[in-house]
């Protein structure tokens, strides 16, 4: 009669049923038998330096691999430190599975170490949260957790595992593993709605397809390609949808940027928005005039008419909706309209396009981005994290990779500090690709200590700091709102982050001049180490995202 403890059951389920081979977290006494379960079942652990990084890495793992990401948090402070990452995954609809320690149930209400009501705290930022009370039900609870994380619109879940069930053993034969993993299914829209959508699309003269994270989570590049190439509709992919078709696809109008999109969106006669929320970034849909016909595709029926009423709503996973829609759509050519959009975009972005080509002193952030892009190329993964920094990264980087350009701090939580964890997860998921994190100097501070994690685990990400010696977006917003002479908590000063990275065992460079950028990148990649290139950029430059943000708070 073989016996198994609760922690090993966790490892066994993860490996054998969900095929999980990597998890992210920090150790803790409450988790000990789970940690040993990881050893037993040969699951790789990436132990970080702050639990928020673990949650963010697991979230990012799901973005870069399409599989749920798993993190482990110890009871109490491990849990509370992870909350920001969980909230971020919740607002980003990422399938994050959180395994969380807990004070013993036996000692509830007695004042046990790290005793707190974690479930009530986490419930509003998870799709599902529960405590398992019975060692024999561990596989069942884990199965429910994964089902909730990945089913329908994905999102984070948390399973609390107390020592009462982890640190005891049970006869293994009494705890059978589910024989099948959770079934795959997809939701389909109504036939009449599909026909109505096709009719609008077939009659469109100036259409635009905009895809969001739903396109990315659907992993629908094949279906999207067929739809786009048959319908001839120009497209733009945003958030985690970016790169599902490459930025340089002939029908992509990615190069007109968010600015071009904002300016021209009202000129389209039909907008097809797939897996994209009309949230504050799209001014709750107000930037689309009522004359424009809107077709919305979303896995969540609640999104279809949210903020703006759609002419047709197609509920379902983007890939399967496109599978059904494409046969109803006529072969068409909208290349003239696409060229119009692109050339309007060039006029609107004229300044940025010139700055990319011009060496300047001090360095303009978009020039920094352009130089990185020129050196690293488009077969790489880029992440931008920061305020203004995030705008410049999104505008300037181009990639052929899926989710190849992600502004990790531009999600709904606007969560600074996500860049480094995303970069680490990207490098682990795609070790043969170059991974660049463009970090604001302020944002770098949140997870800069993770350079230690990168060094210990051999994760050679290159992090370029766009260093304006300030919380730039906030500083420039304060300049607009309260005036230059009353700036508060918005300046940081010159800090040698690259030295900190060297101290942690990574590679560091300090750059102040345009001509130093590319050689520094060369040396950083050649070092084979996790690297930080600290680049001093023009502190007076503001991105268009700042006044947008400023305006959104004006009452």
């Amino acid at each position: 009669m073989a016996s198994i403890n609760g922690g090993h059951l966790v490892g066994k389920y993860l490996k054998e049923i969900e095929k999980i081979d990597i998890v992210f977290g920090i150790s803790g006494g409450h988790l000990e038998s789970i940690l040993d379960g990881f050893t037993e079942y040969k699951i790789r652990t990436i132990d970080v330096r702050h639990e928020q990084a673990a949650a963010m890495m697991a979230h990012a793992w799901s973005v870069y691999t399409g599989k749920p990401g798993v993190c482990f948090l110890t009871a109490g402070p491990g849990f509370t430190n992870g909350l920001t990452g969980i909230a971020n995954a919740y607002l980003d609809n990422a399938p994050l599975v959180v395994l969380c320690g807990r004070a013993p149930i036996r000692d509830d209400l007695k004042g046990a170490l790290q005793e707190m009501n974690q479930i009530e705290v986490v419930r509003p930022i998870t799709k599902w949260a529960a405590t398992c009370h019975d060692i024999r039900r561990i596989p069942e609870y884990l199965s429910i957790a994964f089902r909730n994380a990945t089913g329908g619109r994905p999102g984070p879940v948390m399973l609390e595992l107390p020592p009462d069930i982890l640190n005891i053993t049970v006869d293994e034969s009494l705890v059978p593993m589910p024989s099948r993993s959770n079934p795959k299914y997809s939701v389909h829209p109504d036939d009449a709605d599909l026909k109505a959508a096709a009719e609008i699309i077939n009659n469109a003269r100036k259409p635009l397809f905009i895809g969001g994270s739903g396109v990315g989570f659907s992993r629908c590049s094949g279906q999207l390609e067929q739809f786009i190439e048959k319908s001839g509709i120009p497209f733009m992919l945003m958030n985690y949808g970016r790169g599902e078709l490459p930025d340089n696809h002939p029908l992509s109008v990615m190069d007109m940027g968010n600015l071009g999109l904002f300016f021209s969106i009202g000129q389209n006669d039909v907008i097809i928005a797939a897996g994209l929320r009309f949230n504050w970034l799209l001014q709750f849909g107000k930037i689309i005039p009522p004359t424009v016909k809107i077709i919305r595709i979303d896995i969540d029926p609640q999104e279809i008419n949210r903020n703006v009423e759609a002419h047709v709503g197609l509920v379902g996973d983007t890939g399967s909706v496109l599978d059904q829609l494409t046969p109803l759509v006529k072969k068409n050519d909208h290349s003239a309209w696409m060229n119009t959009l692109k050339s309007a975009g060039r006029s609107l972005l004229d300044y940025e396009l010139r700055m990319r080509e011009t060496a300047s002193d001090p360095i303009h952030p978009i020039r920094l981005v352009a130089q990185i892009q020129k050196f690293v190329g488009d077969d790489a993964v880029y992440i931008a994290d920061g305020g203004d920094t995030q705008y410049f990264g999104l505008a300037g980087f181009m990639s052929r990779q899926k989710a190849g350009v992600v502004a990790s701090a531009a999600g709904l939580l606007g969560c600074l500090g996500t860049g480094i964890p995303f970069g680490m997860a990207a490098k682990l998921a795609r070790p043969d690709k170059k991974v660049v994190v463009l970090n604001g100097d302020g944002s770098f501070g949140f997870n800069g200590m993770e350079f230690d994690t990168m060094v210990r685990h051999g994760i050679p990400v290159v992090c370029v700091i766009n260093n304006d010696c300030a919380w730039g977006m906030i500083k420039h917003s304060q300049e607009l709102s309260i005036g230059k002479d009353r700036l508060q908590c918005s300046e940081l000063g010159l800090i040698h982050y690259e030295k900190m990275v060297e101290g942690l065992g990574g590679y560091g460079e300090f750059v102040t001049k345009d001509e130093e950028i590319v050689p520094a990148l060369e040396r950083a990649f050649a070092s084979g180490k996790p690297a930080c290139i600290n680049v001093m950029t023009d502190p007076t430059v503001t991105s268009p995202a700042t006044p947008l943000f400023y305006q959104s708070l004006k009452m």
């Binding site: 600015l259 904002f262 300016f263 021209s264 009202g266 000129q267 119009t340 959009l341 050339s343 309007a344 060039r346 006029s347 609107l348 972005l349 004229d350 300044y351 940025e352 300049e479 607009l480 709102s481 309260i482 005036g483 230059k484 503001t542 268009p544 006044p547 947008l548 400023y550 305006q551 004006k554």
Partner: protein, 119 residues
């Protein structure tokens, strides 16, 4: 000439609106010093609009510093498109390379959206 006159009247209207049209004065709000230039590419015609803590002021000429600029290929196009007050005409001018933005492009859009509230 017509272009410069149009810019001058635009300034007068915006200044009036900043004092008498609550929707507009609320829109420009208490923003600190934003300077919008509207000019021709050759720099022969232009006017600077300054928004500072709810007040609108202006100076003629294309040589002053600005945060954002709307640059017309020529005065005729600038006049025609601005007088039409149509987004579509602006967009077409941009697509034809006859209207370009410089500097903080967002503010050019902000400026245009404000004008729409007044006209």
């Amino acid at each position: 000439m017509r272009f410069s006159i149009l810019l001058f009247f635009l300034y007068k209207i915006l200044r009036w609106a900043s004092k008498h049209k609550p929707a507009y004065s609320n829109y420009i709000g208490s923003i600190h010093e934003v300077r919008i230039m509207i000019k021709t590419a050759d720099g022969k015609h232009g006017r600077l609009f300054i928004f500072d803590k709810g007040a609108v002021s202006s100076r003629s000429g294309a040589r002053q510093g600005y945060d954002a600029a709307i640059i017309w290929s020529d005065a005729g196009t600038g006049f025609r498109v601005m007088a039409s007050r149509k987004d579509e005409e602006q967009f077409k001018a941009a697509a034809a390379g006859r209207m370009k933005l410089d500097g903080m492009a967002f503010f050019a859009q902000w400026f245009n959206d404000g004008v729409k509230l007044v006209m």
